[in-house]
Amino acid sequence: MLTFLMILVPFAFSLIVFFMKDKDLIRKLAFGSSIISLLICIYGAFLFDKSLEYNFYMNWTWIRTLGVNLEFGLDGIGFLLVMLVSFLLPLIILSSFSSNYSGTGNFYALILLMQSALYGVFGSLDGLLFYIYWELALVPIYFITSVWGGVNRIRITLKFFIYTLSSSLFMLVAIIYVYTLTPDPHTFSLFVICKLNLTESQQFWVFWAFLLALAVKIPIFPFHSWQPDTYTVSPTPGSMLLSGLMPKMGLFGVLRFIIPLCPLAIEQYGEYVVIFAVIGLIYGALIAIRQKEIKRLIAFSSLSHVGLMAAAIFTIGENAVSGSVIQMISHGINVVAMFFIADIIFLRMKTTQIDKLGGIAKSAPKLAIFFMIVMLANVALPLTNGFVGEFLMLGGLFSYNKIIAAIAGLSIIFGAVYMFWLYQKAIFGQTNAQTAIFEDLTAREMAIAIPIVIAIFVIGLYPTMVTGFSENAVHHLINL
């Protein structure tokens, strides 16, 4: 029930704010909705029984003749991602208050709809339901970007939309294909699908169809070319949703479908995916070194980070997958924090061109400290949330293949290069006319920064809080 409630709350509020006109009330309702979701989620964390395979399970028949059910439930990984969504949405909504988005009702209705769809993706235990939420999540972000985005938004979002939608179709075909293989009466239920024991050739098709859809979504090199433009052009709340949460849909899809359905295919082709993911990891990091604009730099940096997560998952080593799950959470927090910082800078400077910045540490010490902490988390300094995941993933890659691990490990150097370069150019150095009067973090911005900083250190110091939830799910997944 709780899963369904989680999906329902933002959806209901989305409908309400959609028909409202009063800007302040809309904002209050949207923020209130996200807080309600967060509270439900915290409540759920206390109820969560780690020994169960799925918590908060429910199953209502929807379309009997097709075997489509409203079947929801959360395993440890799904629940962590639900927590991530619940933690980030209030911050994203709060940060959006600094900008004025015309058509406020529509804007927040879309954000809440996105939240609802994300819960649906992480909580669906029915293949078709998963797909519906998967595509539903695309709609709000498409409109958010194409209506409130920056220069060239129409062309860029169209490309993004077509790219992800058309690749997702392969997944739909695969889901339906698997459905046809289920014994009569056919069903989309994951419990049945995942126990199918597909033949090698069946796995081949399912593997590649899913992979195509997920690789675009994550994105894995070379299916990433929609990503830098879209991240850059989207309004900041959109960039946050796109970078913090959407890649997790893709990675979650791998864990939910590819690993249980296609063990033989992974054995055969997994290595290629790992290699491409690692190429993307280095490729993104190298390109980030020479970016001149903050959001684009974050985009390539994010490409690099998700590359490592994808590579780790496809090794299907237990530690690597555990690391990947922690990193999904940490990366979600850290990349949203990075876009938050980019937004703060943009609001004050009207630009995110790096060479227009400098000397901010003098005029905005709080921002400098916050940025420093986020940067350190991004370069995976021990005791921040970035370290544990990266350590486990690289360690897992190392036992998978030493050369690949060594190449992947280079990213700890390149990551430091571009992050420290960005930090130095933006924060240190001499002030210019504009940065001299740079306003430090406001009370509202502090209210966003503080939870992020706390999360960075709590996960860094007690990563078992995260792994405690996912441990069984990962174990179950790997040793199926």
Binding site: T180, L286, P382
Partner: protein, 633 residues
């Protein structure tokens, strides 16, 4: 006793948080009190721990909690205080405390006073984690933590772009080392199934797999040590790191952080002993670095840069000590070096303070009269580093050289050459700074003097340590007792057992070796005296350019330029290439082409219907679903 060990790093952490969270509120005297007080408490506790270990001979372990726990993989947040750690604790907190005290005076007028003490406390905390960790991962936390603090403190005056570049360079070069270290850790885990020292070393001692595993582990760990301890080829960050305030150079870039690599190799002594090829590499890198850096120091005129190259060179000696199997000697030299090099830097700071920021020794001279305390303490430190008996550096350097002699006479010869160079560049520095007549401006001359009590106290205490510190390890031939060796024996005995060193050079031979070294150093000092004091030569740009050799050395062998052209520029070019060519002209264009094909067909369909592309995609989906369903029934 257990919780006392856990408290040692806690105080600096509290100090950091207390100052850091209130950096814009606290008055300077409260900051000084918290900042130095926290280190002092840690120092007192370190003494307690040291005494306890001295009495019981038992290492102390503390387990705080399971930090990382994956399926078959638990990394506890745990501390180990054994003899080696106890020694390091005393050095870090003891020297650290004196440098904090000195900083009260040195940083008094800086607007970032509170920030400075916050960073310094954070540094000590990280350094303590590094030496206290009971497994490689905790060590790595400290390892990266000290790197961060080094970055923050090198770039302390963040308005200066050059300083920021130096800070960034330090962090990134360290990261290159960390890359090796990280892979080394993974290999350790794969080979021995644990990160815990006790388990790794006990398994290594009876290890029967391919010895190549241990060889690679030790080499990868050594890459980390090269980065952290500024050895060839990753040393160029350390001279640049002198951009930080001078107490930072003393604490981080001389006494403690840069010795972390030495500590780590000593800690992993058993692994290295099992991989003799690695020891050859360690010794070779050490001796080459020692000579190379010393030769650069001969031609530098910036007082801090000379000391920086000197530090690199002395760290090289420590690695020689490790490489030839003189583990105690290496740690001994680490200790005495912490004393005299911290003193040299603090003395240099006193000089720079008096000279109002001037660091060029060719613009100093005659400071003996005006800065007597600085002069005498600096003299003691210089004699100590030159290895003149009975000052501390003599004993420790002698032990390393003796080890080198027993190992391979070539290392000994090169070591002595290095010692001669050391004496020469140090006394060149000393004579140019303190002797002959003042060469600075009149304005500087008015200001000359030693005004800060806290600075002077630290100088004097460190001078005492530099002078007497050697007596913890007097070689047998002088009828003394090697307390340090005895104390460290439980840690290094297994290492020595594996190495089976032949350490019995006859006393006669030992006397001769010592005599040669001391005599050669004394001659070098006299030569420096003759050239820079009696003849009063002041080096200038012009006479460094007399021939290609001296010019190359003076320009630091153009290593920075080579790295820039050979590594940095190509990477930047490659980054640009990936972005402009592969990304935009390759991948993106291809995707767009495929996309436009789809849209073209969409446009044709548009003649029939007036939908959007999205609508067509939906139609396609429905079509496929329909087909599949028809198949089904």
């Amino acid at each position: 006793m257990n919780y006392i060990v856990a408290l040692i790093p806690l105080f600096p952490l509290i100090g950091f948080l207390a100052i850091g969270l209130n950096y814009n509120r606290l008055p300077k005297n409260i900051t000084s009190f918290i900042g130095t007080g926290s280190i002092f408490l840690s120092f007192v506790l370190s003494i307690l721990v040291f005494v306890n270990i001295l009495q019981t001979q038992q290492p102390i372990t503390v387990q705080l909690y399971d930090w990382i726990a994956a399926e078959n993989f638990t990394i506890p947040f745990a501390f180990l205080a054994d003899q080696l750690t106890a020694v390091m604790l005393l050095v870090v907190t003891g020297v650290g405390f004196l440098i904090h005290v000195y900083s009260i005076g040195y940083m008094r007028d800086d607007e970032g006073y509170n920030r400075f003490f916050a960073y310094m406390n954070l540094f000590v905390f990280s350094m303590l984690l590094l030496v206290l960790g009971s497994n490689y991962v905790i060590l790595f936390i400290g390892w990266e933590g000290v790197g961060l603090c080094s970055y923050l403190l090198i770039g302390f005056w963040f308005k200066n772009t050059e300083y920021n570049n130096a800070a960034k360079k330090a962090f990134i070069m360290n990261r290159i080392g960390d890359f090796g270290f990280l892979l080394g850790m993974f290999l350790i885990y794969e080979t021995f199934g644990s990160f815990n020292y006790a388990i790794v070393f006990s398994k290594a001692a009876v290890f029967e797999g391919c010895p190549c595993a241990i060889f690679w582990i030790t080499m990868l760990l050594f890459v980390g040590a090269i980065g952290k301890s500024a050895q060839i080829p990753l040393y160029t960050w350390l001279p640049d790191a002198m951009a930080g305030p001078t107490p930072v150079s003393a604490l981080i870039h001389a006494a403690t952080m840069v010795t972390a690599g030495v500590y780590m190799v000593a800690r992993s002594g058993i692994l290295y002993a099992l991989a003799p090829e690695s020891l050859v590499v360690v010794a070779s890198v050490g001796i080459v670095t020692a000579l190379f850096a010393a030769s650069i120091a001969l031609y530098q005129n910036d007082i801090k840069k000379i000391l920086a190259y000197s530090t690199i060179s002395q760290l090289g000696y420590m690695f020689v000590g490790l490489g030839v199997g003189a583990f105690t000697g290496a740690i001994f030299h680490l200790i005495t070096h912490a004393f005299f090099k911290a003193l040299l830097f603090l003395g240099a700071g006193s000089v720079i303070h008096a000279m109002q920021g001037e660091q060029d020794i060719t613009k100093m001279g005659g400071l003996k009269k005006n800065l007597p305390k600085t002069y005498y303490t600096f003299l003691i430190a210089s004699l100590a580093i030159a290895g003149i008996p009975p000052l501390s550096g003599f004993f420790s350097k002698d032990e390393i050289l003796l080890g080198a002699f027993n190992y391979n006479i070539l290392f000994w010869i090169l070591g002595v050459v290095g010692a001669v160079l050391t004496s020469f560049y140090m006394f060149r520095l000393l004579f140019l700074t303190f002797f002959t007549s003042f060469r600075g401006s009149d304005k500087q001359k008015e200001h000359l003097g030693e005004h800060s009590k806290t600075m002077n106290i630290s100088l004097i205490l460190l001078a005492i340590l530099s002078a007497l510190g050697g007596f913890i390890g007097i070689p047998e031939i002088f009828g003394g007792k090697h307390y340090l060796s005895e104390f460290l024996n439980p840690v290094f005995a297994p290492v020595h057992k594996i190495l089976l060193l032949n350490q019995n050079a006859s006393p006669m031979k030992e006397y001769i070796l010592i005599g040669i070294t001391v005599f050669a150093s004394a001659v070098a000092i006299y030569l420096a005296y003759y050239k820079f004091s009696i003849k009063g030569i002041v080096p200038s740009e012009a006479n460094a350019k007399t021939n290609i050799v001296t010019q190359t050395v003076a320009r630091k062998y153009y290593i920075d330029e080579i790295y820039d052209k050979g590594v940095v520029k190509p990477i930047l070019w490659f980054s640009q290439f990936l972005h402009k060519v592969i990304e935009l002209k390759g991948i993106d264009k291809l995707v767009n082409k495929i996309g436009s094909l789809v849209i073209d067909s969409g446009n044709k369909l548009r003649l029939i219907q007036t939908g959007t592309t999205g609508f067509y995609l939906l139609a396609i989906v429905i079509g496929i679903i329909a087909m599949l369903l028809i198949n089904l029934f």
